[in-house]
Amino acid sequence: MSEKKTKRRDFLFTATTAVGAVGAAAVVWPMIDQMNPDASVKALASTEVDVSALTPGNTLTVLWRGKPVFIRRRTQEEIDEARSVKMEDLIHPEKDEDRAKNPEWLVMLGVCTHLGCVPLNDKGDYNGWFCPCHGSHYDTSGRIRKGPAPWNMEVPKYEFVDANTIKIG
């Protein structure tokens, strides 16, 4: 008799705990997920930039999703320099041909992959960019060459809408 009673209580205990745990998880998730980007933030997905005024050897910086985007119209020397680098010399090997489909135009997030500062143009040991925060050097293709940053500067999704307009995002 007593054994049967214990089993009933065990069942109630287990069932209550299980329902309680699932219930708690169901309540906690919305509390966590509310901190993720909301619909209005996600809606700002793309931006169009007029690049007709940009001459070779200059960089335009625009804001996209709260982050700066570098649009660099590269000179022939910069392109040659970026394309002549050997893959084994790179920390994060990526071909310049893959980063800049149109070699004259380099479009990438102007965000250092170390801790998110904005690197400076035409600075550093590789004639590309230099991050003043913790000393990362990037080459003319925006690839990390020296310093604590682990990856190359990110190339976002972009396309030429017409000859003078780039759509980022």
Partner: protein
């Protein structure tokens, strides 16, 4: 408190105390037996309580005027400085109060390190203290973001990006922390909320910290266990109250100097420029109290390992009671530890200095050596020292060295014999 049979004198007092023994608690705090040889390094607990209350009171009043919105935050802080009655005073007390809070907590921590206050049976007091310290750093960091200046914005960017070093889920965590794809308005509003919450968490932990302290009682400069109450103790009131009060007044003179004569000397001029996501300031540095850890972060050339080293430097303190193998608490009786203690103090100061300098050349080299030594101290020197060190004889009571005029027993006995 179980060793305490207290009965209020008045009928009303008895009636109330039988229902809620608050008067018993008050009596415990008043009579609490305290070692009679506590020096001024022991007054920083009281000073820290004052700092916490100051931050909460000034913070509450600032929150009545501050607007947590990316478009208005910077302007609202200037509005506090220029328009709000005594707004400049309240804000300067709050901003410099953070620095004073850390100054006091560092003295408090290094006092524990010198006198071995973290050792058995006080490990829980120590660990609660480390949690309070971590929460203080979180609160200070988020508070620094609220004025939405250039240092606010880029400090927030750099520190939140530390989480991107976590493999696989790092980027997702950073986006979640930001509530967007960069530090922006959602980040500001949640930081304001948490900045408001954390001081009250600290307040709760302070109650536990003091509760845990009142179980074994205070450590003392001699570092021995004492009977309480005994001829080695004095009641907390009035002896310690007046000593704490005097030290607090001295501390408030330093505090007032910064508030009235150099209110911006500990800050950074770049934070009077409104946040601009397009331009990073040439030289990003955190507030002075975080510089040693910042130096450790930058001394490691790998992103993930740098973050791991920085966090370890703080968390290693939590296991200190088990890393220090010596049974003797006070450095007074540990001739070798005493020297390593001062080397550690110098090491942390050097880390703080190079943390404020650019991470290149000689500075980087010094930062690397100092980082290596920091870990060497806790992971190698302390465990080995407990076995190797020849300690000095420890007195049997506090009274013994006090009457002899020296905490060093041999010297005290020597002097006593001379007097005889």
């Amino acid at each position: 408190m179980s060793d305490h049979d207290y009965r209020p004198k008045s009928k009303v007092g008895q009636w109330f105390n039988d229902r809620l023994p608050l008067l018993t608690l008050a009596n415990h705090l008043t009579d609490y037996p305290t070692p009679k040889n506590l020096n001024y390094w022991w007054t920083f607990g009281g000073i820290l309580t004052f700092c916490l209350i100051t931050q909460i009171v000034t913070g509450l009043t600032l929150a009545m005027h501050y607007i947590a919105h990316a478009d208005m935050a910077f302007e609202s802080v200037e509005h506090i400085m220029r328009d709000v009655n005594y707004g400049w005073l309240i804000r300067y007390i709050h901003a410099n109060g953070a620095s004073m809070f850390f100054l006091a907590v560092y003295i408090h921590i290094f006092r524990s390190l010198f006198y071995g206050s973290y050792k058995a049976p006080r490990e829980i007091i120590w660990i609660i203290g480390i949690i309070i310290y971590l929460l203080m750093m979180a609160a200070a960091f988020m508070g620094y973001v609220l004025p939405w200046g250039q240092m606010s914005f880029w400090g927030a960017t750099v520190i939140t990006n530390l989480f991107s070093a976590i493999p696989l889920v790092g980027e997702g965590i950073v986006t979640w922390l930001w509530g967007g794809y960069s530090v922006d308005n959602p980040t500001l509003t949640r930081f304001f909320t948490l900045h408001y919450l954390i001081p009250f968490l600290i307040l709760g932990l302070v109650v536990l910290h003091i509760w845990a302290l009142h179980v074994p009682g205070n450590n003392n400069p001699v570092g021995i266990d004492i009977k309480k109450p005994s001829k080695d103790t004095v009641p907390f009131h009035p002896y310690i109250v007046i000593k704490d009060g005097f030290a607090l007044l001295m501390f408030m003179i330093v505090f007032a100097f910064f508030v009235f004569y150099a209110p911006n000397i500990l800050g950074h001029a770049d934070n009077y420029i409104e946040a601009n996501p397009m331009v990073t300031p040439a030289h990003i540095v955190p507030e002075w109290y975080l510089l040693p850890f910042y130096a450790i972060l930058r001394s490691v050339p790998d992103k993930l390992l740098g973050v791991v080293a920085m966090l370890s430097a703080i968390l290693i303190l939590a296991v200190l009671p088990w890393l220090d193998t010596s049974k003797i608490r006070s450095a007074v009786f540990r001739p070798l530890y005493r020297q390593f203690y001062w080397i550690l103090v110098a090491d942390v100061l050097i880390l703080g200095y190079v943390g404020a300098m650019p991470a290149e050349g000689l500075y980087l080299l010094i930062a690397r050596v100092a980082t290596a030594y920091y870990f060497l101290h806790f992971l190698v020197i302390l465990p080995v020292l407990g076995f190797k060190e020849k300690t000095l004889p420890v007195p049997l009571s506090i009274t013994e060295p006090v009457l002899g005029g020296s905490p060093n027993l041999a010297a005290a006995r020597n002097r006593e014999s001379k007097i005889e």
